[in-house]
Amino acid sequence: MTMNVADARSSEPRISTTGKTDKPASDREMLVLRGQGLAKSFGATKALRDFSFDLRSGEVHTIQGENGSGKSTLVKVLAGVHTPDSGTIEIDGHLLKQMSSPFQSLQNGIGTVFQEVLVVGPQSVLQNVWLGSDGLFKVRYGHEERVAKATAVLNDLLGLVPDLEAPVETLSLSDRQACSIARALLRDPAVLILDEATSALDVATRDRLFDILRTRAERGKSVLFISHRMDEVTEISDRVTVMRLGETVGTLNRAEATPARLVQLMTGSDVSSEPRKRAATKSKTQRVLLEARSIALLPGRQPINLTVQAGEMIGLAGLEGHGQEALLRALGGGVTSSGEIMMHSQGNTAVVRNETEASKHGIAYVPRERKTEALFLPLSVLDNFALPTLKQDTKGGLLWPAQSRKRFFDLAKRLGIRYNDADAPVSTLSGGNQQKIVMARWLAADPKVLLLNDPTRGVDAHTKQDLYHLLQELTDIGLAVIMISSEVDEHLALMDRVLVMRDQEIFRELNRSEMSRTSIVSAFFGKVEQ
């Protein structure tokens, strides 16, 4: 007889779910939401096994866990998207009999914002903010009331209210997400669930959102907060509940919830989510690989000149939508207003005019959104990996899958990709491993310059560490890496230089000695501080 998995885990030390500093008597009345023994399976996959937590009135309660730990399933259960297989949900002390639709969830005072930016692109900002508020035939709010409320909420969130009649697709990603958050805030739900909803926000909007959450808390409104970013978690949370493999591991009060402790609980081991300090570029050969000459991202903007050396790692930072992505795409042969990109290799210089030429000269662009920009979810792991480099597996006009398999096997080992079957759909892998597949796809093209668009966004601590390790390895052998990151800590730990973008121009270039949290964040807002 062997011990089953659940037994093995229950033998680990557990932390009381109620915490140590509870005041039991009064707390019972203050609970707004309570879940017990929640479980949900999809086919053979147990996404949620046994999850329990409670949410007090006026608290910000964070749920933390690695990718695949069941956070999203939990949120979808609470939001009425999924019906739990077993377990109970209590709202204000009343046992909920049924919550089988998002509408019912909303009726029960639970408002949810998801990680995916859910807006209807061609419709106006106002329509998007009020999306779903009307019945099929009935208009519930007048136009003036709509404008007034939307203006108030967007003003709090964005500082500056965008044109309410503009199509929402004309806004930046961060502002679009602000619209979906505004949609939930308008209804003033007793419980606001933010499922990684902050990952698309720029720093300033996120800070304003946190202010709003604090004000709400004073009025006794609660927040269930989900985020991978440790700084956000420690900044805003009153309590943190950690989950692993669909189960509650424990709940910590703010004071106990140090990053190290949280990571230990999430992973069951001592992996830090902090980026390790990367060794600075070793080779001082000054061999220039890539050169941007007078690139203007928009007509009339200050042209950008940039030289990238072999083995160098350059960070692109800034508030969301200030040109980091446009610059990265431009370096990969994308559209610019003016200027040119040159690639140097072995004494030859080539002008890069488009993405195909960029690829031919060894420039690889790894996009930001895994699911919408990189992966073909129903296709196999192998197909997803090999697509842009299929020519390497072609002989006599035909593909030889054994050749792809061999190439994949080598890279999978190097990147530590965990998979059971290379022929299974890539959707069966966890988010972190999917991200590694995307990296492997482009490493297979044997690039000299790697352009990474926020590769660690929304991946778990283990995967982050693996990626940091990989980047060190790659720059050691002379690859140049240019990477957008929304985490200041990553810039501090990894980059040889950081370019802070503002309004489609490079506002400031910081080298290692000038880099600090303050100098980087100040530059986001157009200030020069050391």
């Binding site: 093995a8 999809f42 996959t45 730990s69 697509l387 299929l390 966890s430």
Partner: protein
């Protein structure tokens, strides 16, 4: 106490959502059905068995050969539709290109006196250009192919009608008739050449879709066009090629159809729009998951032909026939149309 289980690796497997499967029999059957058209094969066998048991003449050589010819023509006409559905579109100009093929081959080799080889070349170039243009317009301007191919089909039919003045005088070249004559044989094999052509096309399609760069790029373009663009797939080229192949395949089917029918007319291609779509759908095409293959369409074409034959031979009316296929298409869409994608996403 037995040995401590390797909880780390078990945990790792769990996180990937790939535990050892504990499926019920029903779940296994559904899963299998999604990967392999088991149900279709059972239906085909049952239909053949029913025909054999209830009708004396059902399995005689003439009837079998006729069914094979009809299935081949339908299967070839549905080739373009399979590709159009695969990339997430539809091609309603197929009847027009069947008429284009059949009209041109009878008119320009007959009354106009153009040599056969040249005539076929002209047809391929014309159809390829018009079809490719449809794909280019649909991709470039993001217009649904339903609209573009509707317009193109109307345009092609209109020009043909104007040119022939609805008076097609030529007859099919005799060798085309030989390809589809029930008692013709192919290199000594006792089957009409059109069946061998169909099988060869099936093999070529399987190789192209599974074992060429173009095939893999085709699926990638179908499933996530934006990611395909970023993975340096020339998606517009893929669309142009798909609709060009669809038009060419339809025009070539037109040659075989006119050979079978003897003379061309403006409505010769009409039945193949519905029947071709039915063959693709009955074969179990599921574009959302990329489970679209030509061999599935071939299976669908055979099911359609055998069931039609049974219904006609059984004395059912055209009304009964249409009701039956309407219901069957609904069943197929119920099984494949909406994929439980949530299960893939955890």
């Amino acid at each position: 106490m037995m040995t401590q289980p390797d909880s780390q690796s078990t945990a790792a497997r769990d996180m990937e959502g790939q535990q050892l499967p504990q499926r019920t029999l029903w779940q296994s059957v559904v899963l299998l059905q999604r990967q392999f058209p088991l149900l279709q094969i059972l239906v085909l066998i049952a239909a053949l068995a029913y025909g054999t048991l209830t009708m004396d003449s059902f399995l005689n050589p003439f009837s079998v050969r006729t069914m094979l010819i009809l299935a081949s023509l339908l299967g070839l006409a549905a080739l373009g539709q399979t590709l159009a559905i695969l990339v997430g579109g539809i091609d309603v100009s197929i009847p027009a290109f069947i008429v284009l093929g059949s009209t041109l081959i009878t008119q320009i080799t007959g009354p106009e006196g153009v040599p056969l080889g040249l005539a076929i070349l002209v047809i391929i170039v014309l159809a390829g250009f018009c079809g490719g243009l449809s794909g280019w317009i649909a991709h470039k301007y993001s217009i649904h192919p339903l609209i573009v191919t509707l317009a193109m089909g109307s345009l092609v039919s209109g020009v043909l009608l104007g040119w022939t003045n609805a008076n097609i005088t030529g007859v099919a070249p005799p060798f085309l008739g030989a390809l589809t004559r029930p008692f013709a044989s192919t290199f000594g094999l006792p089957v009409p050449p059109v069946v061998i052509i169909w099988l060869a096309v099936g093999v070529i399609m399987a190789v192209v879709l599974k074992r060429t760069v173009f095939g893999r790029q085709l699926y990638a373009t179908a499933l996530n066009p934006r990611a395909a663009d970023l993975a340096l797939v020339r998606t517009r080229f893929i669309w142009v090629t798909v609709f060009a192949i669809s038009a060419i395949a339809s025009a070539m089917t037109g040659l075989l159809v006119v050979g079978f029918a003897g003379t061309a007319n403006a409505t010769l291609g009409d039945p193949y729009l519905f029947q071709g779509l039915a063959a693709v759908i009955l074969g179990g095409a599921a574009p959302l998951t990329g489970a679209v293959d030509y061999w599935r369409t071939m299976l669908g074409a055979m099911i359609f032909t055998v069931l039609s034959t049974l219904l006609v031979a059984g004395g059912f009316t055209e009304a009964d026939k249409q009701i039956t296929f309407g219901l069957l298409i609904l069943v197929a869409v119920g099984v494949y149309g909406r994929e439980p994608r949530v299960k893939d996403r955890v």
